[in-house]
């Protein structure tokens, strides 16, 4: 019995004892909601055991989660789109719009032929429609919202003021970053210098993103700790 298995059994016993106490004191109701909270707490602690070491308990819960998540999304796709729109309109619908979704449904079924090697080439028709249409929708909209709409605020008159100074800095930054991602000319001499400035701007924006991300991840930890301390253990005031 290695040290880890002692830890494992110790954890299980402690977990059972705490839950028994909570149930006994009525802090957690002995109904489905209560069992739900206990289950969620158990799963949360098992996943946190990964911080100590990658262990069987972590792998068990991780794979359980993968299976449940896959079926959850399947349920949604069925009830929200396949049933609500396709099945209901094709079978129960009436009048002219009953068959309006027949063609896209056939095209969708074509996509599933990719799973059958012999007729997998049929799925290319569906993929060609999805990817081709997607590409066509992208081009004019990216030009409008990512090139034109982003250029216009950088083409404002420079004034002798803080905004003017900021505009100049933004101008230098945008041009320097674009020169950094320029591949037709060697990064030497003037181009090298400008792309160096580009790297500094990139580093500031990566630093800002890193600083922001710390908060994002911590919020998730705070959320889970609030769940453990409040909903489960009821120790928060």
């Amino acid at each position: 019995m290695t040290r880890d298995s002692y830890l494992f059994i110790g954890f299980l016993l402690l977990f059972a004892a705490v839950n028994a106490a909570l149930l006994a004191t009525g802090a957690i109701a002995a109904d489905w909601t209560g069992f739900g909270v206990i289950l969620a707490a158990g799963l949360t602690l098992s996943l946190y055991s990964f911080l100590y070491k990658d262990n069987p308990l972590y792998k068990f819960v991780e794979h359980l989660f993968v299976g449940v998540a896959a079926a959850y999304v399947l349920g949604l796709v069925w009830y929200n789109t396949l049933l609500a729109e396709i099945v209901n309109s094709l079978i129960l619908g009436e009048g002219k719009d009953r068959w309006s979704l027949l063609m896209p449904s056939l095209l969708g079924a074509l996509m599933l032929t990719r799973l059958v090697p012999r007729i997998a080439w049929l799925s290319r028709i569906a993929f060609a429609f999805v990817v081709g249409l997607g590409a066509g929708l992208t081009i004019p909209r990216y030009i409008s919202s990512f090139i034109l709409a982003q250029m216009e605020p950088s083409l404002r008159p420079i004034t002798w003021s803080i905004e003017g100074l900021n505009l100049v800095i933004i101008l230098v930054g945008v041009v320097a970053v674009m020169v950094y991602f320029f591949f037709s000319v060697e990064h030497t001499g003037v181009v090298g210098g400008v792309s160096k400035v580009g790297i500094w701007f990139l580093m500031i924006s990566f630093g800002a993103s890193f600083g922001y991300t710390v908060m994002a991840r911590l919020s998730l930890l705070i959320g889970r700790t609030q769940f453990l301390l409040d909903d489960w253990l009821h120790v928060m005031k």
Partner: protein, 434 residues
Amino acid sequence: MRYLPLCTVILALCAQVHSQPEPAPIPESRPELRPEPKLESRAESVAGVEAFDTPNDAGGSITVTWPKHPEASASTMYTVFLADAPSGPFLLVATVGADGSLKSDNPGMFGHDADNSHTHFAHIEIFPAVGEDEGTPLIDGKAYYVKVGLSPADDSVIPSSDGFGVPSGNAIEAVPGGNFFNWAKLNNFILGTFICLVILGYISVARRKELYIRRIAGLEAIDEALGRATEMGKPVLFVHGLKGMESIPTIAAVNILSRVARRTARLGTDLRVVNNEPIVMAVSQEVVKEAYLEEGRPDAYNPDSVFMAAPDQFSYAAAVAGMMVRDRPAAHIMMGYFYAESLLLAETGSTTGAIQIAGTDAYTQLPFFVTTCDYTLMGEELYAASAYLSREPRLLGSLKGQDVGKLVLIFGILVGTLMATFQMPFLTHLFTSY
């Protein structure tokens, strides 16, 4: 490159054309101005009224424009009347205040002419039914007649919908209809066509002759890392991103993998390729086997070196992190599109002292790779590296075409800001999404 000035001139010409809306179909006669507004049942009519089908729309709408009245005061009210017959009952459809909608508020439709800022406009979409409340939308192709009145400041003449207060003078005819080109999107159309032609052009050029791309520093770092791994006799770990085979970053990663595999075959270093998706694994196996064949070392290739670690995000990261700590490879090469697990991989990798080289276009994950890896291929550098290695015309040409696009945008920003600073907002108007 010499076509550049020519294209900018074309852009300039077209933008000029676009900013003058086509004149109203029937030139109306100009009613002469009365000496001074007399108090009587008829409101005084406004001069210079124009009415035409609203441009850039699917139809069912008329636009009426009229210049500001010379003695318009703050409380002046313009009244717009509509009828479906030249003499028919004129019904009130819109009232516009002195500070109401000006043509300069909508440059997408009316352009940027100087006198736009003192010309009012109004869109009419509903023909008011007499009596019941529900108006009916205008019918395309049907002629409607418009009159614009000026109700005096002291609103003694209260415009009402039963014809009282309708100005004298004859009405202006207009016919609503759907339009086949959205002139407000002209600059978008020209810029898009220019970019597409440049990219497609360079792709066809790249098929015929070699195109120059600057050396990518990250690739040297990879060669150096492979060399060091060989000296230490330790394996090299190649880690794929999470996206599938159809995604661009994964295609780029496989191109880089083939270069790495060719080098490890020549040096005899042990290469491990970790995957999380069956199709990517199958393609990677083919690529590595091919590389070992080309280097004349088919015997050195062992199929188990390219394997599935785990199918989903965090179990994949945990499995790979475990390998990094257990087998202690000398180099970690992480290429493709990564999500939040990038931090877990790179942070664990940095603890083993191995050389880490990453390449991803997942910009949100770049801060983690930049802080933990020895070298990071950032965003488009991943594509450039794959083009540099694979020498495929479609990748080289596309990259060069995008470079020309960047040049045009850089030129646009620099000159545009300069011109805007000297009150010449021409380029600012050109590069605006209407």
